[in-house]
Amino acid sequence: MKAVYFAWVRERIGRTDEDIAPPASVATVGDLIAWLSARGENYAFAFEKAGAIRAALDRKHVKHDAPIAGAREVAFFPPMTGG
């Protein structure tokens, strides 16, 4: 699946997007955050306050307990500040 990052999540990870292939044990958005956090200091820094991170699956907001199965694109970003 494709992972995309925005705002300070993007800055901390150091990339805008990437293809990822988590193992089958990674079932939810929360699992994916934990799995990504273990990939390096930049990911750990980006997700250090996991509760503050918002996620979207295929461009729809989801909670961390949402299953990722079947999703083509997952996005991680801070709380929105538009408007």
Binding site: V4, F6, A7, W8, A56, R59, K60, H61, A75, F77, P78, P79, M80, T81, G82, G83
Partner: protein, 153 residues
Amino acid sequence: MARVRVQAAPFDVAAETRALTGGRTDIGAVVTFVGLCRDEGGTLAALELEHYPGMAEDEIRRVADEAQARWPLMGLTAIHRHGPIAPGEEIVLVIACSAHRAAAFAAAEFLMDFLKTRAPFWKKERRRDGRDGDWVDAREEDETVLARWSSRP
């Protein structure tokens, strides 16, 4: 069907209003909201508005559709800019038209309240002195004001 756009270019409030009201005689109330880039401390060169292409339009449209389901609207426009925006410049536009004012006011405020917390946009400060600016923090108040819409019609 609401008019929803995400764009870098400035918008023309008068032209957008005419696009909704021109040639019609059934609209009695037009409520317009314009959000501007503020510079409280005199230190801001610009706000850099990042967005999630595709999802930004989708989310605004979802909120707009919900506003149209809740109130008898005769026109609804929402435009959100991205990219660098200087202090005093316009960031967001909402126009709601209805026969009477109550629906137009409510729909415009509803759309802004939900757009603030659901549309994927993020503001980063570009400072005048060239130092690295901060990402604007989300206001807790923006979440708490949403509660009132669960009790209203």
